[in-house]
Amino acid sequence: MDHKPFAITLDPGSSLANHTGNWRTMRPVYADHLPPCNQACPAGENIQAWLYHAEEGAYEQAWQQLMQDNPMPAIHGRVCYHPCESACNRGHLDEAVSIHAVERFLGDQAIAQGWRVACAPRTGKHVLVIGAGPGGLSTAYHLARMGHQVTIHEAGAQAGGMMRYGIPKYRLPREIVDAEVARIQSMGVTIKLNSRVDDLEATMAEGRFDGAFLALGAHLARRIEIPGFDAKRVLDAVTFLRDIEGAARPKLGRRVAIYGGGNTAIDVARSVERLGMEPVIIIYRRDVGHAPAFASEITEAEEEGVRFQWLRRIAQGDASTLTVEEMALDEQGKPQATGRFETIEADSVILALGQRADTGFLRRVSGLRVREDGTIEVDETMMTGCPGIFAGGDMVPGEQSVTVATGQGKKAARHIDAYLRGTTYSKPEGHGPATFDHLNTWYYSDADASKQPLLNLVRRRSSFDEIVGGLDADNALLEARRCLSCGNCFNCDNCYAVCPDNAVIKLGSGKRYEFNYDYCKGCGLCAEECPCGAIDMVKEVT
């Protein structure tokens, strides 16, 4: 067809010569926004990222991604109070993704399969870590990954800290703790048990350490006097929990009252239940709405028969009873005495009024500042007043939880690493949060959360067996796939399909996309129709 009629007959696709890109006033750009789950995670996990791999059934890849931030997924999948799920955008749609369940699944898989994490080449630097709790273990792990040598000094007989001595077995089976600690040791981390450090400088010098991380935790219980009540029958939660961890069975009598409204109080109550005591009573000065314990914990405890005496203060006691005063909350939600009293029968009282770190011995260390409450002051790099000495976990001010400690461990490790290399660490800049309004939820199909199996009540009340079961591979996969991938492209091809100008280039399945700005007119359809809000429209620079 060489003599095609002039002008009226044209060659196919010849309009490629017409670059419509110059119509554009706004330009689309791909961005990875910070998903709410990641933002909320105290351990700084990139949850969306590891779920992305889990969605494909690539569990080890998912686990490796997880291990970038958290060395103990099996533990966190069980004990973390998962603020990520409260933040999850899917909650606005049907139910939040059950992140902790998938995390636990991955953690258990790793233990079962014996998955390992690679370490960087040795740096020759040696770091002292005091305390083998979550904070200490986390720091040690991350430093080891970075190639540093780490030695942990643990005062207790076993590693794990509060994970072992503060959280009952029925929530965290000990073989899980052992497995994840063992994995950290297998990375070259030395743990010296029963070795309490009393003189930091001496220990540092003797071990020729280049830096130290203090994570002693908080093991000193707050105590109060109960007038008229035999002090021998007043125990504290920390001691009680440590005792039952061993073989010892403390003498409590038949009727036990627990004083406090935090998660520890609940842990204690439920443990006591399992020791076969009479109905356990929890006494707390404020009401259920103001109790620091998690609602789920309270409900589970009630299911197991624990009774609650809200708005009560222990005034005094005698041989077999406690006199409690009724309290009332004022506008500020503070409990005020009412002058009305009642008595309840109790053979013993366990105080769950919080703990503090035993940091007295550190007062001698120059530059290191110990606060009134025993916590230690650290700067934004987690370093104490004394150069090279860092601290974290329950012994520094702030929220006290396994996950927070683990997160601080990572943070400290990064700064310790920088300190050892004589550099400074700064967090990379992100693209801003991926809030719910970023999403085009029409594209998401409804899918209810997968439920984890629960142990039946009888066994729960009579044994320390783990209450909550794990997901099987199928559930875990489906649960992972409920993730909306907020703010991060998951290769759904929408942008590629909805561009009226074919100005989106698909780089191959799973390889994401590029814009062809020669033709993109900047209509914004791609951004509008991106389900997860991973495309921003930005002003064209002219």
Binding site: G13, S15, R481, L484, F490, N491, C492, N494, L525
Partner: protein
């Protein structure tokens, strides 16, 4: 199991592709090797629904016909923005003759192919609502009545956009156009006017009639593929928003189309030999206001003061569709 699982997929099957779906359940538009029948460099407005609808329909048709396809185009936006000398955006054999004769020209192409024994080639005719429901209607009806082997795509943007937004037989009641202005006692397009060409097509008893929307790609492609598999006259009426004519944000083209479907104003159904055989259920029902409020052509209804009667009348149309076509899943 896999079909059971799809419900749980991140995005179900509603996105164009998704790496978690197996190839077969992804759309043609998600494929790297799609034809791009209407290629880059065309002069359609930003966010043009018709450009999108045309590429969706033709790419699907190309795949279903193993690239053995000839398309005839009526005069209109699609033709003007795609083929101004010296550049054409078409990657397929394509012809434009006149405003009112696309169906007849296509019948001619089909006749020629039959005469030459090239039955493997599919013939497509396409045009906007003006070319289809108005000026080309005689030829369309003739093509139907003869049951010529032609698949007709009507890209319905509900007015004459090429000439600058004048009222067509497909303009919805109350809509403002430059010939049905929002003035006087009964602003916009008079109620009780206009024609439903899919129903009229069905009345011809042709083997396949369907409606589709750019907002539901999977549904659209399935219907095109079905149509290609059928012999004789076939009609596909595709709803394609026009940002210019509707006064909607170019970025909202999909959203507006989606709301037309989800409100029930644009029912998605299929008919065989004159009888409705399937309809696509509404996923998340919305009141018509959600649809209207995104378009300035309905601004005069939303007020203030709001024309509650008008809105009620439009809602009634949507509700009637939901009943007529059983749009509840």
């Amino acid at each position: 199991m896999s079909t059971e699982r799809i419900k749980f997929y991140q995005t179900g099957t509603f996105t164009a592709g998704n790496r978690l779906l197996d190839e077969a359940t992804r759309t043609v538009q998600s494929r790297v090797d799609r034809t791009n029948s209407l290629n880059s460099g065309h002069r359609a407005c930003q966010g043009c629904g018709e450009a999108l609808g045309a590429r969706y329909a033709l790419d699907a048709a190309m795949r279903a016909s193993r690239n053995q396809l000839i398309a005839v185009n009526a005069t209109g936006c699609l033709e003007v923005f795609s083929s101004p000398y010296p550049e054409s955006s078409w990657q397929i054999p394509w012809m434009h003759s006149l405003f009112g004769n696309a169906p007849a020209v296509a019948s001619g192409v089909a006749a020629a192919l039959r005469a030459k024994g090239r039955d493997e080639v599919t013939v497509i005719a396409q045009g906007g609502d003006g070319a289809t429901v108005d000026i080309g209607f005689g030829c369309l009806s003739g093509m139907f009545e003869r049951n010529d082997d032609v698949l007709y795509f009507c890209y319905d943007n509900e007015a004459y956009m090429n000439t600058g937004i004048q009222r067509s037989g497909s303009t919805p009641p109350f809509a403002r156009t430059n010939t049905t202005q929002a003035v006087a006692d009964h602003p916009g397009n008079p109620v009780g006017t206009g024609k439903n060409v899919p129903r009229i097509a069905m009345a011809h008893g042709i083997p396949y009639v369907a409606t589709a929307s750019v907002a539901d790609l999977h549904d659209l492609e399935r219907k095109v593929t079905t149509a290609i598999g059928v012999q004789g006259a076939r009609y596909l009426h595709i709803h394609v928003p026009c940002p210019l004519g509707w006064g909607s944000d170019p970025a909202h083209t999909m959203k507006v189309a989606r709301l037309a479907v989800e409100s029930g104003l644009f029912p998605l159904f299929e008919a065989e030999c004159g009888t409705v055989v399937r309809s696509t259920p509404i996923r998340r029902k919305v009141p018509v206001e959600r649809y209207l409020e995104l378009q300035t052509r309905f601004k005069h209804l939303l007020g203030p003061p709001q024309d509650t009667n008008a809105i009620a009348a439009i809602q009634a149309i949507a509700d009637a569709n939901i009943v007529t076509y059983g749009l509840w899943g």
